[in-house]
Symmetry: C2
Subunit: 886 residues, 2 copies
């Protein structure tokens, strides 16, 4: 017969830590602890497979009840007690425990095995108050968790009794009071459910087991699994364990502890305990628990006695357990303990949750202590957490008046006076004020103001809206889509509920969590400690993927280098056109009627662009710089307001009507799929010629100053080989001319974005005329899904809610669909051109899951915002290590 | 040494008709005719490979000049003449001739071998006027074609001489006049080019050969190749042939003839001739040529004598040649002949061009005559031509005042009084007037007016604009993008150049050619003759692809059946919502705040939709009907004008502001990629439920009337399996309910459009929950290319012009890119679900090249506008036959 129940106790367990799938995390932990000699109350674990069977067939698999009976007998023997006996009744707890910890499931029922008769008998022999208190706890938990009676209904009965007796604390109630309450609880259950509380302990046990099984598929659990991407076919194990009591008076206590400080990572024993209490009391917060260790007491400045001082002998045992667990699991553990009559029992152990800072310190310390090696240390830090280390944070001790929540678009905290236009942001910032830019949405014209502001808050838009993308690029804190905020530009204020915030009033945003906070709030600048540096160095030794940054300015480029970027994977040239000194020339260019006029306007822009590129090349001395030719639709550069249109018309000596007509003629039904990308450079070759000249001239100039330049010119939005070939021809002609003029050639490359399905599908053809590919997975996701990034907010939340989409494909690369194109294009491209370099520069380049995919399929590098560079370095190293583990 | 020159003459040729690639069409035809005993003046052909070599290296391949000399000698022997001799000089013509006939290339130079000395000598021995006339023709042609002197400059000299002599016709000029003219021609050449006309016959010959070689890559030829999709690496052959003269007086004549009537296909000898003339004179139109045969004379009512009567013996020889050629080539041939001193020479033969009507008649007749079989007959009709047979045509005899040209969006001719709004079209049509709707563009709200109008003319938009697609669907003549037309809606008129057309004035459009014509023009209704029927039946026997129609109304469905459609491949339900009786309910639905309100509005639409579907099912008795659920963005249904908004608000009892706000909230940056397709049905399940109920109820109702219904419900714009699965679940629930209510189930299927790259990429997953796929290649082309159909007009003309795109991918399926996705999705889908039916319902379903591709990859059917159904049937049969030939 299949083994469905695993025993643990008396120093030996049938299971072990590797059996999480079968025994759940808790069960496997209990088994492992038993095996390594940690004092664990004996018990047994029913496998998750039984849960799945029960859920499907609504009955137990054959033989399960027999195996439960057998193991119950073993447990009786181990405890020298008997289930359902009067004299030495065995009491047990029943706990759920899946392979992955899931708060949505049933948690715990204690004291199973008591009933009225047994309780009365026990009460007469031992401590009656303790017995009846335990009995009512059983009825209450069982009634709530198994039979579905509201928790509050039980609490009401207790409160009623206390009121009647005129006492405030549970401690004021006597044995008789608890006995009476137990009776009322049973009546309540009968009333509410029509069923009796089961007096037969065996019925109680099976009822509890069934309830655990069923909790796997309750609504909350399903919801939790959906949100956390946990598969539905794991099932949960059930742990049946002998009860131990921390609330039997003197010599009793209970607590939870971390083997190191989970906030800082410091190597001190850290936790909380209560004397004469059950585990749930620590969490309930009725009494304030004390610190575990001396050191902890010192650091926290607690008035309470440390457990180390109160129960020094038990503490020493606990300290042994701590060492044993860390030595065995090589991890910072989170454990629960109970002391009954001065005997220490460990009820649970699991990997301890920790802050980013702690994760880094613990990992590096453990390498120093010889517990783990570099590689393991790398795996111990979550790339998503790393982000926390690079931005200022809200001081956790500060009191916050949170007035709204939005999407956490770019991490970090920022405070400043509210402004509603980019111009004002620039002006006030020049005057030395710290400002926070608040807009419905931002557009490329706002770039200056966004730079000037401490942070950006928008009431609309998603995680890949303009504000979000640009802010992440700049490393500026940003919240988008804070829909409760209603902005009145005219009145220069925004309202949210009853709160009105006027221009000039201070607010704080927390881009890491999406909280909008009234007023200035103290923030802390996290240090990038030596430990973090060490982890990054180890990661760099291991990773195979290159990591570059998306950077448009020398300032961003420098920051990217500081964060370890090995070049620029994407410099967007259009951002350079929005400067006050440039946009007029750009507009003239767009409004030109003839190539000659156009060239005249472009000639004005040329020296500015050349200067920009010189700055980038200098900042990236020795590293490649990929410069993308003009990409966005031209109408983005044109003014919308009457006044600017008139000025522009005046300057150009044409009528305002003509300017307006041109603006209208550039309007498009679907600009995302319109006249943009290389379509611009093909229709208006003068633009490509000017940009190529600016890049090549800049490269030669900087090379003459002993800087190593590696310029790479990137053609956007190509879908056909012919597009790349024709632009390439144009660029090469310009380069030849410049080299002749300057008398000095430099090496350069010409490549293309792969951001349309057709480009990936015909990558073999395109690779014949490209030196490199860079996947623009933002646009590739738009076209592959047929999702407009600007409009997707209308339906994707519903899609994710309904499980139709697992997550936002603009955040995490859709490996099944878009990823297929990425892999196809990579393979076809490299086959046709083995020297082809292939990377990715979409938003996904900074997303750990996507980075792992990029590694797996064999891309050469990822490119992301400067602030994501450390994240990418770590994720790339982890990808290598995960691969080896498989 | 490689053979570079092929001789033909004296009943034997080195080449034959299969060598078109090497010898060109003309050379291969001359060789073949020689071999089968047709009297052809001897000569030789220089291969196209030599042309390619010359174009690349700017010199002859080694040995070519020697081979030319050798063959010239052979030719001298055959003719008993000598090139460049005084006594019996050999005169030759040089003609280009590529594998595919190309009007852009150099055509002909005659009389090579004459120079001043030889001419003088010949003149003194023979007919001096003829000699000097021939000589000046040589200088003129050579000067024009080889040396680049303007044709007009030569003509001016002739005119000047005629004026001086006071004569009107060339015939009035004497031998001396021509001699003088020849001298002046030579001076002109020297003046214009600085070079002498070559007096050395060998230099003449090589100069002409080089000119032919070079003409392959001249601008006109390139342009022609680009337009006609002819590859650039074919090269042209050069034919050097002994001269024969139809202009040496008595017993001389020349002509062109078709072996059958190219307009009607009737089996009569049909052509034109002139006595005492050279071939070019027939074309030049100075004298009116006479009919070839008696029958032709009778039918055309010509006053001129038939060649049959004037030169009965030669005619009888010519008739023999006609029979020989048809018997040999099994085709209707187009031939050129010259009679010199009563000796018949055939100078060229090629397949004769013909009208659609003629193509059909000739093909069927030739099967009757035993010349070809059914299969060959099917190949003889071009699917593109078939369209001509299904629409009224402009009477070719009518005089036309063409005022503008646009894109021929939907074939056929239509006349009517101009109206500028859909409402007016409806009104006037009700009053019995024939109207023509003229708009900038049309939108779904105009459907009613489009139906009411005889034809549609728009000043903007491309071949797949709304007007174009809808008009083709209706079979209504339509011209789009007639950009010269400037419409003034307010003044109710349009202008084009100096012409102003006011509302109510008649115009005619020719949707087959794109011509806009002032006034009413007589049209002819072409009959679908029995011959055409026969071809269609033969096609149906052979084709493997199913052919269905895109039809939204019972009327269209009936038409589709008449044209042979085997079901409806796409019924768009949204068109049904635009009716005056429905749009208010639709708008209420969109503006509803709660599912209940929404359901109430949908309940009003339900019976109307059910009625629509009943009509479709009845019309398609026994054939499948694929009904697509609501697809377009909701804002398309909402009004834009203030008045309608206010009415709507009134009717619904809400404020106009609220309606406006809702309209604004539905606006999207890129509606093509926005909230549409199944995203609607997932966000607002009530829509899908209503539509599913209408379809299933209609199916049951009609089935109860002994009609065989095969309903198929199609989910639009899916990109993930989960989308299809969730909609499927919804539909199945509704169907179960309806079956219970009605007490009778019917078989039905649920499938999905494949119109997003992601759908094709994950077709294996989607096929698990779909019974059929239908490729929406319009949208798939948009997303694969990243081309917005509405905006593509800004850059694709330039792309095609520059050779970056070979053609409009919305007209002909892009096999390399989009086709890859179609094939991938098909294979993955069928592998996962072998019962899966896969078809195509995009515009490409009616395009012959695309149909061939669909056949090749193994689709089950194509679906197209009713009027394209015969085209598709024929193209599908040809695809099978082409496959067998490979």
């Amino acid at each position: 017969m299949e083994k469905m129940v695993y025993f643990f106790g008396e120093g030996k367990a049938e299971g072990n830590i590797t059996m999480k799938k079968t025994l759940g995390g808790k069960g496997a932990g209990l088994a492992e602890m038993t095996n390594i000699g940690v004092p664990v109350p004996p018990g047994f674990t029913i496998t998750s497979q039984c849960c799945l069977y029960y859920e499907k067939h609504k009955k137990y698999p054959k033989g399960l009840e027999e195996q439960i009976d057998e193991n119950l007998k073993k447990l009786e023997n181990a405890m020298g007690q008997k289930f359902a006996s009067f004299d030495a009744p065995l009491l047990v707890s029943v706990r759920s425990g899946a392979a992955i910890s899931m708060p949505g499931m049933m948690d715990t029922i204690l004291n199973l095995g008591l009933n009225e008769e047994i309780a009365n008998n026990l009460a007469s022999n031992t401590n009656p108050r303790f017995v009846y208190d335990s009995f009512r706890r059983l009825i209450q938990m069982y009634g709530d968790v198994v039979m579905g009676v509201e928790h509050e209904d039980f609490e009401e009965i207790i409160q009623h009794t206390k009121d009647k007796k005129g006492v405030k604390e549970d401690a004021g109630l006597t044995a008789d009071d608890w006995k009476e309450i137990a009776g009322k609880f049973k009546k309540l259950i009968k009333e509410k459910t029509g069923k009796d509380f089961p007096e037969n302990p065996k019925d109680q046990l099976l009822g509890a087991v069934n309830a655990v099984f069923s909790s796997w598929d309750n609504k909350r659990a399903k919801e939790y699994r959906r949100i956390n991407n946990i598969p539905g076919d794991l099932g949960t194990a059930v742990n049946v364990q002998a009860m131990v009591f921390g609330n039997r008076g003197e010599g009793c206590s209970t607590g939870v502890a971390f083997t190191r400080n989970p906030a800082t990572g410091e190597n001190i024993f850290y936790g909380e305990y209560l004397l004469d209490a059950q585990g749930e009391d620590v969490v309930a917060g009725i009494r304030t628990p004390g610190p575990i260790s001396h050191k902890q007491k010192e650091e926290s400045g607690s008035d309470l006695d440390a457990f180390e001082d109160v129960m020094p002998e038990t503490y020493s045992e606990l300290e042994d357990v701590r060492k044993k667990l860390e030595g065995h699991f090589k991890e910072m553990e989170d454990l629960e303990f109970t002391v009954e009559d001065n005997k220490l029992w460990i009820l649970q152990t699991r990997t301890g949750k920790r802050t980013a800072m702690a994760a880094v310190k613990i990992a590096v310390d453990m390498v120093g202590e010889g517990l783990i090696d570099n590689k393991e240390a790398i795996m111990r830090v979550s790339p998503d957490q790393v982000d926390q280390l690079l931005h200022p944070m809200i001081d956790p001790r500060a009191e916050l008046n949170v007035i709204a929540k939005g999407l956490p678009a770019s991490p970090g905290a920022a405070s400043g006076k509210v402004v509603f236009t980019a111009d004002e942001a620039v002006e006030k910032a020049k005057a030395g004020e710290k400002v926070l830019l608040v807009r419905h949405v931002t557009s490329p014209e706002d770039i200056g103001g966004m730079h000037a502001a401490e942070g950006i808050l928008t009431s609309r838009g998603g995680m890949t809206s303009h504000a979000a993308v640009v802010a992440r690029g700049m490393g500026a804190p940003c919240i988008v889509g804070a829909e409760d905020i209603s902005i009145d530009y005219k009145a220069k204020r925004f309202t949210v509920g009853d709160v009105t915030v006027k221009e000039g009033e201070p607010i704080t945003i927390d881009g890491t969590t999406g909280r909008v906070i009234l007023g200035d709030v103290p923030t802390i600048e996290p240090e990038i400690s030596g430990d973090f540096q060490k982890i990054m160095e180890w990661a760099d030794e291991i990773r195979r993927l290159g990591v570059r940054a998306n950077a448009d300015t020398p300032h961003d480029a420098k920051q990217a280098r500081d964060f370890g970027a090995e070049g620029i994977g994407l410099a967007r040239t259009e951002h350079m056109f929005f400067g006050e000194d440039r946009i007029p020339a750009m507009r003239e260019m767009i409004l030109s009627e003839t190539p000659e006029e156009r060239k005249k306007a472009l000639d004005k822009i040329l020296p500015m662009q050349r200067g920009d590129f010189e700055g980038l090349f200098k900042a990236m001395d020795g590293y490649p710089v990929i410069i993308r030719l003009l990409d966005p639709p031209l109408h983005e550069f044109l003014p919308e307001d009457k006044k600017t249109i008139e000025e522009l018309a005046n300057n150009m000596g044409i009528s305002a009507e003509k300017v307006e007509a041109k603006i209208a003629s550039l309007e498009e039904a679907n600009p995302m799929l319109g006249l943009r990308g290389c379509r611009l450079g093909i229709l208006i070759p003068e633009i490509t010629e000017m940009q190529a000249r600016a890049i090549i001239e800049a490269a030669v100039n900087v090379a003459n100053k002993n800087v190593k330049v590696i310029p790479k010119i990137m053609i956007p939005l190509a879908g056909r080989k012919e597009e790349v070939a024709s632009q390439r021809e144009l660029i090469e002609k310009v380069a030849e001319k410049v080299f002749k003029e300057k008398g000095k050639p430099v090496d350069y490359q010409i490549g293309t974005m792969i951001e349309l399905p057709r480009a990936a599908l015909t990558a073999d053809k395109i690779a014949e005329v490209a030196d490199f590919f860079s996947y623009g997975t933002n646009d590739l996701t738009q076209t592959t899904f047929g999702f407009s990034r600007d409009d997707v907010g209308k339906y994707t939340p519903d899609y994710i809610e309904k499980g139709i989409l697992p997550n936002d494909p603009f955040q995490t690369l859709d490996q099944e669909g878009v990823g297929q194109l990425v892999e196809m294009g990579l393979k076809k491209g490299k086959k046709a051109n083995p020297d082809l370099e292939v990377g990715i520069c979409g938003e996904h380049g900074g997303d750990p899951a996507s980075i792992e995919f990029c590694h797996k399929i064999g891309l050469d590098y990822v490119s992301c915002s400067p602030f994501r560079v450390p994240v990418a370095r770590l994720a790339a190293a982890q990808a290598v290590l995960k691969e080896k583990n498989n």
